[in-house]
Amino acid sequence: MTMLPGATEKRLGLVVDLDTCVGCQACVTACKGWNDQGYGVALSDQNPYGAEPSGVFLYRVHSYAVQPVDGLAQTINFPRSCLHCEDAPCVTVCPTGASYKRVEDGIVLVNESACIGCGLCAWACPYGAREMDQDAGVMKKCTLCVDRIYNENLPEEDREPACVRTCPTNARHFGDFADPDSKVSKLVAARGGYDLMPEMGTRPTNKYLPPRVKDRRAEASLLAPLLDIEAKGFAGWLDRVLGKI
């Protein structure tokens, strides 16, 4: 049903730590690797070895240059995938009911066997989180690795999204935002997690942790010379230093 559930029991989603992401793209390929053989059709590629390769990815990592008013320019790596919005416009626009938000955990999914590939949901998503599969003609999007997180055939530690499991710096965290004691809720509270494009009114579940303040001046007072070396000479310095042992 493309009516949105009023509220969901759980609100599963991700926290992305922009202070920590080094932009290695490991999550991007892990995501494609898992979803290429998991939920729904494979993520096709066109001209993979040709002049203009192209393909579907559910997840992309950008890199931005941010220039403070006064201060050094910064580079900030920025992972982007579906935010599993509470007011998901991608769901309500879908004419077939293929696009839906789950009542039990809030995951936004596409039922590919009902998808006509009209592309409207991708238009409706402000975040570019949906990409149409050119071979299959159906809409693909992040599944929050629904086929991992509840998968009892996987060892416990693997029951989290592929991108989270792979991220070597732990810049991605998975959990239930409905539970104020969950790791993700606590991180958001502690680090000021925020929404992307709040003006779109989508109420994203996923939150981003801002980079910590960079290029702070050291607070420690500068080192004071032991004595005036030019006046006292090296010998004076040596006495002074070794006298300290």
Binding site: M3, G55, F57, R60, S63, T96, P126, V138, P210, P211
Partner: protein
């Protein structure tokens, strides 16, 4: 947004078709006999042809029937229902005109109203998309309705009505450009809000996430040159609105006159619709530093 030919064709032709059908249904023009068959045929042809052109746009057209299921939330679904209802409602009227059955016109008027509802639903598919600020405005439905009405009148050769509606169309087109140009800023989306990094400073792209192409770049990110766009805007207003007006004012009424007016109108309508897509910026472009 990528100006996909199938979608441009669909929206322009079906809009024209429904506009024309509305006039027929309402009884502004009441054709008879073979002429009725032809005229209703044109109306149906445009409407249905346009709808099927949109199927080219689908990845899995064989499942198109499923698109009727979500009328409670989806404008696309509502459009599907509205168009089918309209076409069904108008069928007896068409039959009556053709075969001279003289059935009452009430149902035709209902059909005419449904034509408007259909065009409205079509326009709402675009107008509802907040992520494309240019579209997300009341001027979008007005524009679609205006095109349908004026197009219908032109096609019907109802000179006076056509001139009136065409002048109206010119105003609405202008309004569309006027409001459209201001919508992105009004929406408040920026690279800073898209990334949430604005608190640190001005945000620009350092590296794109991929050097290869993808669906988003093809479908949602289309950059049209300003000069080019201005030229097309002129063409749209001149051809779609003032062209038919001039033709009807200057030339005597004749089939050729109508055809000329329709041709000019369509030319302008295609230009306007191309711009409707090409000039519409999706906020996802912000992530790519492209608007």
């Amino acid at each position: 947004m990528h100006p996909a030919p199938s979608v441009i064709l669909f929206t322009v032709l079906s809009g024209l078709g429904f506009g024309f059908l509305a006039l027929l249904g309402w009884g502004v023009v009441i054709p008879q006999g073979v002429q009725a068959f032809l005229v209703w045929g044109i109306g149906y042809g445009l409407a249905v042809g346009g709808l099927s052109a949109s199927a080219f746009h689908l990845g899995n057209p064989q499942r198109a029937l499923l698109a009727f299921s979500q009328w409670r939330s989806s404008w696309l679904s509502r459009e599907a229902w509205a168009s089918v209802i309209t076409l069904i409602l108008l069928a007896p009227v068409a039959l009556s005109d053709w075969l001279g059955l003289g059935w009452p016109r009430g149902i035709g008027m209902a059909g005419a109203v449904m034509c408007g509802v259909t065009v409205l639903a079509t326009s709402m598919i675009y107008a509802q998309i907040k992520a494309v600020p240019r579209w997300h405005h009341w001027v979008t439905p007005l524009l679609f309705l205006s095109f349908a009405c004026s197009g219908g009148a032109i096609l019907a050769g109802e000179a006076r009505l056509a001139v009136l509606l065409s002048v109206g169309l010119a105003v609405v087109l202008w309004l569309g450009f006027f409001f459209g140009d201001r919508q992105f800023a009004a929406r408040g989306a920026s690279m800073e809000s898209a990334t949430g990094l604005g608190a640190i400073g001005r945000v620009a792209v350092f590296e794109l996430p991929h050097t290869g192409g993808n669906y988003l770049l093809r479908e949602m990110i289309f950059v049209v040159g300003r000069k080019h766009a201005m030229k097309l805007r002129m063409i749209a207003i001149l051809a779609a609105a003032f062209g038919p007006t001039a033709v009807f004012v200057l030339l005597p009424m004749h089939v050729v006159t109508v055809l000329l007016a329709v041709a000019l109108h369509l030319l302008g309508a295609f230009a306007a619709r191309w711009l409707f897509f090409a000039e519409a910026e999706h906020v996802v472009g912000l992530y790519y530093g492209k608007r």
